[in-house]
Symmetry: C2
Subunit: 345 residues, 2 copies
């Protein structure tokens, strides 16, 4: 029995449980909605795995699942996030991102048009980052057991063997650079979710970060550590690094940029922008004598315009982050105890 002929085309159709069967419907879903956006020789081979060409350097491996709601938000969507998020995790070790996997958990009833839009966005994001989506998987769960689309991406990058960018490299005297204003992604998603409107449109900062990192390396900056500011925001990233590195940081509140729209939305919703998720911002720990050159490099890339030095690594042996306000008063920053913004990425 071949069902290709009697059934109508999938236009206007929805995801059915049969699309997850591994059979004829699965094949058609991949052929119509997925493969056209990930056009490369690995996908064409129809394997369950991808054999990659040899690359020079150490292999770096990472993964993230994405469950953001809504699927589309100002400045991005779940597909773009799934590519940039994993590319950024690779970039934060100094690796050059090369290959991604893409695994979908679809909810029965999802319009195929929505899936196609998300896959098209993933394809465009992968092209922008110069990465190939080489292997994947699709599962379908019943209505009420998912939420439209969940996406997992795993990523492989290569790292020049001379590079060690990690918390253990953070040294007293290092300066902490922040790559732009904070809180845009979390507040753009929340504003869309809550139906808030602002005078100036609030867009997610969702962006790939591998290029600015590469530019810093190419300029000879001795990056000691990098961290992207995703869930938990700037504060959580700083606290985690202070603990992992066993160092004390002093950060100046007045030097941390936030835009009017983020401050307004945070006040309205009772949120602290220091804990709001970003998807295109990072902090970099660099030697004090390289701060000016590093900021000049970052300023030259649209993704990192507005970078600032926001603090330093002290000689203190407490694993903590001191936040100094404009009046010189100091308080300690802590991790977010529970949840501020669920389903933000």
């Amino acid at each position: 029995m071949n069902i290709d002929c009697p059934l109508p085309a999938d236009t206007g159709e929805i995801v059915r449980l049969g699309h997850g069967s591994g059979g004829e419907l699965s094949q058609r879903l991949l052929r119509d909605c997925v493969f056209p956006h990930f056009n490369n020789s690995w996908i064409a081979q129809g394997h369950d795995s991808a054999t990659l060409p040899p690359a020079t350097g150490q292999v770096v491996f990472t993964t993230d699942s994405f469950v953001v709601t809504p699927l589309f938000f100002p400045g991005g969507d779940i597909g773009r996030l799934a590519v940039y998020g994993t590319v950024n995790d690779l970039a934060m070790s100094g690796a050059r991102p090369l290959y991604l996997s893409c695994s979908l958990i679809l909810e029965e009833g999802l319009p195929l048009d929505t899936l196609t839009r998300v896959m098209s966005s993933m394809g465009a994001a992968a092209t922008r980052c110069g990465v190939q989506l080489v292997t994947g998987d699709t599962k379908v769960v019943e209505r009420g057991k998912g939420d439209g689309i969940y996406i997992n991406t795993a990523g492989i990058g290569v790292l020049h063997e001379s590079l060690t960018i990690e918390p253990g490299q953070i040294r007293p005297g290092d300066v902490i650079l922040l790559s732009g204003d904070i809180g845009r992604h979390g507040m753009a998603v929340m504003a869309r979710r809550e139906g808030l409107e602002f005078d100036s449109p609030l867009q997610s900062d969702c962006a790939p970060l591998h290029r600015p990192v590469q530019n810093l390396l190419d300029a000879g900056i001795s990056i000691h550590c990098l961290r992207d500011l995703t869930r938990g925001g700037l504060a959580t990233a700083l606290v985690e690094l202070a603990e992992t590195a066993g160092r004390e940081f002093l950060v100046r509140e007045a030097d941390i940029p936030t835009c009017d729209a983020v401050r307004g939305a945070c006040e309205m919703l009772g949120l602290d922008p220091f804990y709001v998720a970003n998807e295109g911002r990072f902090i970099a720990f660099v030697p004090a004598d390289q701060v000016e050159s590093a900021l000049a490099v970052l300023e030259s890339d649209p993704v990192t315009v507005g970078s600032r030095a926001i603090g330093t690594v002290t000689g203190g042996d407490r694993q903590q982050v001191i936040l100094q306000n404009a009046l010189g008063c100091e308080r300690l920053l802590h991790r977010l105890p529970g949840e501020q913004l669920p389903r933000i990425c």
Copy 2:
């Protein structure tokens, strides 16, 4: 605010949205329920990615998401499946599995004890396979937006450069070996789901397949192609390979083993065992003059006891699978058109 002191330990507790925040609760979840089962130096580093040591050979990359229900079934559970499934995808290219990622999508309300059981099972399965779980991610979705636990694993293996095991290598005259009886995994899950009981207990065949593959290679068998028989079962795997390879296969129904319990359950539920999922069975295409040695190798491993030659690649140029019954009558096998058993893996 530090919440470590005032709150009780997580014993008897459930997953809350805060466990997905990236903050204090996330840390505690990982520390208590996840990390103890994946003990290695990468996990200890607390990075968002894992930098892997250099390995000889080509890198092979794959991914699968697991949404099986129920989470625990006779002969396995979602954690074991998530390790073996990805290990098997690597093994089917002839690669030696080395590293896995583990990304969790947890539903609010999941008992932490359940998570711990699943993670413990993943850890044991990884140890059995000699793979390391080196990087991961955890997201939490609201009640009614998931189903307990969904797990994604991506896998990295290495392949000896002289090996090319893929559909394009299938040749006329090749013999098709099947590594054991079929239908156990799908019927064990369905029996648990439907509350069926049998005289002889029906267990999933869920098992890692990298060792028998390695044994075949070590014995000098020129494996042309391998495919594990997951969703869609034996029939779907055969049809897909016939189409991808552009070859015609002739398969003898009487040589395909099924156990009494599987046949009984299939009859009761109106299912065809040829389309029922397996999680520890594969087919191998080998030259006719190596069949006896290959079967001897397979017979020596508990995972592949009961292997059989079930058919051949004909010289025909139609991309199809002919099933010959015990009386010599022939019919064509097709892919499963829709869904037979949803959420089977």
